[in-house]
C-alpha cells in the first residue's frame, strides 16, 4: 500500500474507535482502495475464487462434523447417515466433497497462471513460496479428509501414503508406527486425522492472510509482467476488481453446482463406497485426481526410497523456481520460446496425471518414466538455460501504453 490511508472517520464514534483500533482503515486500504494494475485478465480472478472455496470448505465441514463419528466401526455408516437421514445432508456432503476438487481446480489454474506470467520472480519470491506452502497444507488437509469416510480407498490411500515415510533410512518404521498409533492404519489413525483435518483449514486461513500481506507489500504482477510506473497504471480494487472477481466467482460456482447436482461422484472413486477392509486391497488403488501426477512420479522410479524422494522433490522444487528461471522478463507473452515450453510442461503434467490413474503395466511404465524425467528436466535444465539463450520480444513502455495500444 503506497501513501497514507485515505480513510477519514465520518462520525465521532468512528473517530474514537479509529484512534484505538484502526481496523476500518486497514480494511478500506486493503480491500477497497488497494491500487491494482488496470490490465488484469480473468486468470487473476482465481485468488478470489480460492478464498471463497476455503470459506465453503470450512462452513460445510463444520456442519458435517455435527453428524459425523470418527470411529472405525461407525465412521462409514455415519457418512451414509449424513447422506440419507440428515436434512440436506446429501447436499452438504456433496458440497464438501466436490468443493475439495474444485478447490484444487482453482489452485492449479492459479499456479499455472503464476508460472506463465512469471509471478514468482523478484520481488514476489516470498509471496510465491508462501503459495507453495499453502498448496502443501491443502494436500495434507484433503488427504486426511478423504480418510474420514473410512471406505476402501480411504483406508488404502492412508496406508500407502503413510507408508511413504517408512522409506526414511533407519527410523522409517518408528515414524510410521508413530503416525499410525499402532501397527497399521486403525482407529487411533482415524482419530488423529480427524483432529488435524479440522485444524489445518484454519491454519490455512492464517497463512492465506500472510500470502495477501506479502502481495500487498509488493503489489500485483500483471499480464505484461512490467512494473507499475504510477497511478495511471492502476485502478482501485473496488469497484473494478470486486466486480470482475465477483463475476468470475459466480461462473465458477455455477460449474461447481453442476458437479454437486448432476455429477456428484464424477470426480470420486466408486470403491470408496465399500467400507474399509484392512485384509483386502482393492484391485486398482489410486489417489484422488489432484494427486495423480505426483503418484505417477512416485511409481516411475523402481526404487522405494528414490521414488519417495522424487515425489517429494517434484513438489518442493517449486520453492526453488524463482531462482531456477534465469530470465529477467516476467511475462511469457514476451518470451516466444518459453511460451512453447510452458505449454509442453502443462501437457506433461496432465499426461502424468493420466499415467497416475492407470495400472503400472506395459507402456504406461515407460511413458511414466519419460514424462517424470521431462518434469524435472523442465525445471533443472530448460528454465535456467532458456533465460540465458532466449531473446525476448520488446516490452511495452508501460501498462498504460500497452492497454491503449490494444484499444486501437
Amino acid at each position: 500500500m503506497s501513501g497514507p490511508s485515505k480513510y477519514q472517520p465520518s462520525s465521532a464514534v468512528g473517530k474514537w474507535f479509529h484512534e484505538r483500533l484502526p481496523i476500518v482503515a486497514f480494511a478500506k486500504d486493503h480491500a477497497l482502495d488497494f491500487p491494482t494494475p488496470k490490465n488484469l485478465n480473468y486468470w487473476w480472478t482465481f485468488g478470489g475464487i480460492l478464498a471463497v472455496m476455503l470459506v465453503v470448505q470450512i462452513l460445510t465441514g463444520i456442519v458435517l462434523v455435527m453428524h459425523y463419528t470418527p470411529q472405525t466401526d461407525l465412521a462409514f455408516n455415519s457418512v451414509e447417515h449424513i447422506m440419507r437421514d440428515v436434512n440436506y445432508g446429501w447436499l452438504l456432503r456433496y458440497m464438501h466433497m466436490n468443493g475439495a476438487s474444485m478447490f484444487f481446480v482453482a489452485v492449479y489454474i492459479h499456479m499455472f497462471r503464476g508460472m506463465y506470467f512469471g509471478s514468482y520472480k523478484a520481488p514476489r519470491e516470498v509471496l510465491w513460496m508462501i503459495g507453495v506452502i499453502i498448496y502443501l497444507i491443502m494436500m495434507a488437509t484433503a488427504f486426511m479428509g478423504y480418510v474420514l469416510p473410512w471406505g476402501q480407498m480411504s483406508f488404502w490411500g492412508a496406508k500407502v501414503i503413510t507408508n511413504l515415510f517408512s522409506a526414511i533410512p533407519f527410523v522409517g518404521d518408528f515414524v510410521t508406527t508413530w503416525l499410525w498409533g499402532g501397527y497399521s492404519v486403525d482407529n487411533p489413525t482415524l482419530n488423529r486425522f480427524f483432529s488435524l483435518h479440522y485444524l489445518l483449514p484454519f491454519v490455512l486461513a492464517a497463512i492465506v492472510f500472510l500470502h495477501i500481506w506479502a502481495l500487498h507489500v509488493v503489489g500485483n504482477n500483471n499480464p505484461t509482467g512490467i512494473n507499475v510506473k504510477g497511478p495511471q497504471d492502476t485502478l482501485p480494487f473496488h469497484p473494478y476488481y470486486t466486480m470482475k472477481d465477483g463475476f468470475a466467482i459466480v461462473v465458477f460456482l455455477i460449474v461447481y453446482g453442476l458437479f454437486v447436482f448432476y455429477g456428484p461422484n464424477y470426480m470420486g472413486d466408486a470403491v470408496n463406497y465399500v467400507p474399509a477392509n484392512p485384509l483386502v486391497t482393492p484391485a486398482h488403488i489410486k489417489p484422488e485426481w489432484y494427486y495423480l501426477p505426483f503418484y505417477a512420479i512416485l511409481r516411475a522410479v523402481p526404487d522405494k526410497l528414490l521414488g519417495v524422494i522424487a515425489m517429494f522433490s517434484s513438489i518442493l522444487i517449486l520453492l526453488a523456481l524463482p531462482w531456477l528461471d534465469t530470465s529477467r522478463v516476467r511475462s511469457g507473452t514476451y518470451r516466444p520460446i518459453f511460451k512453447g515450453f510452458f505449454w509442453v510442461f502443462v501437457v506433461v503434467c496432465i499426461g502424468l496425471g493420466f499415467i497416475g490413474s492407470k495400472p503400472p503395466e506395459g507402456s504406461y511404465v515407460l511413458w511414466g518414466r519419460i514424462l517424470a524425467f521431462y518434469y524435472f528436466f523442465h525445471f533443472i535444465v530448460i528454465l535456467p538455460l532458456l533465460g540465458l539463450l532466449e531473446t525476448p520480444k520488446p516490452l511495452p513502455a508501460s501498462i498504460s501504453d500497452d492497454v491503449l495500444a490494444k484499444q486501437k
Binding site: L279, P282, A283, R299, K304
Partner: protein
C-alpha cells in the same frame, strides 16, 4: 568505553544464554508428552498375540487372519512350492536377508530360514507389501509354480506390481524387502501362537 562496561555486557550475554538454555530444555521436556501420546497406547499393545489352528488349511490353500491390525498370511505349501523355493540361489534374490523374527542374526533368505524346520509346508508371514503396505494377492505373478495358464504359490501386489515367490521373498521391485515372518511358536503339532 571502560572495561567495567565490557564485563557487564559479557555477564548479560551469559545470563541471556543460560536463561535461554533452561527455557529450551523446559520446552523440549514439555514437548515430549505431546509427541509420545501418538505412539501405540497400552490397549493397542495388549492385543499383540493370537493363536491359529493350522489343521483346517488344506494343501495349496492359504488363509488370512488379522494380527495387530494387519493381514497375516498362512499358506499350506505343496511340494512343488517348496521345491521351487529351494531351487533359487540366495545370490539371485533382491533381499538376501531372511526377515524372519524367529531366526537369529543375519541369516540368509534360504527357504529353510523362512519357515520352521520340519514344518516346511506352513509359510507364515505378514501380508503387508514391503513397498507401501498393500496386501499382495496370492497365486499370482511370475514367481509361483506355473503350470500352463495357472500360477500357484506366488504373490503379486496390486498397488505397484511387486512380486513375491513361494517363500514370500521379493523377486520384483519396487518392494525392497522380503515379506516379514512374525515371531511365532508351535503350541501343538498344528497350532501356532503368533506374537
Amino acid at each position: 568505553m571502560s572495561t567495567a562496561v565490557h564485563a557487564d555486557v559479557n555477564r548479560r550475554d551469559f545470563l541471556m544464554i543460560a536463561t535461554g538454555a533452561v527455557a529450551g530444555v523446559g520446552a523440549a521436556l514439555v514437548a515430549w508428552p505431546f509427541i509420545s501420546q501418538m505412539n501405540p497406547d497400552a490397549s493397542v499393545l495388549a492385543l499383540a498375540s493370537i493363536e491359529v489352528d493350522l489343521a483346517p488349511i488344506a494343501e495349496g490353500q492359504a488363509v488370512t487372519v488379522k494380527w495387530r491390525g494387519n493381514p497375516l498370511i498362512i499358506r499350506h505349501r505343496s511340494k512343488a512350492d517348496i521345491d521351487t523355493a529351494k531351487a533359487v540361489k540366495v545370490s539371485d534374490l533382491i533381499d538376501s536377508a531372511s526377515r524372519n523374527a524367529n531366526v537369529k542374526g543375519n541369516a540368509d533368505a534360504t527357504d529353510d530360514n523362512r519357515v520352521v524346520g520340519g514344518k516346511e509346508q506352513y509359510l507364515v508371514m505378514l501380508g503387508v507389501c514391503t513397498h507401501l503396505g498393500c496386501v499382495p494377492q496370492g497365486d499370482q505373478g511370475d514367481f509361483g509354480v506355473v503350470t500352463g495358464n495357472s500360477t500357484t504359490g506366488g504373490w503379486l501386489c496390486p498397488c505397484h506390481g511387486s512380486q513375491y515367490d513361494t517363500a514370500g521373498r521379493v523377486r520384483k521391485g519396487p518392494a525392497p524387502e522380503n515379506l516379514p515372518v512374525p515371531p511365532y511358536v508351535y503350541l501343538t503339532d498344528t497350532k501356532i501362537r503368533v506374537g
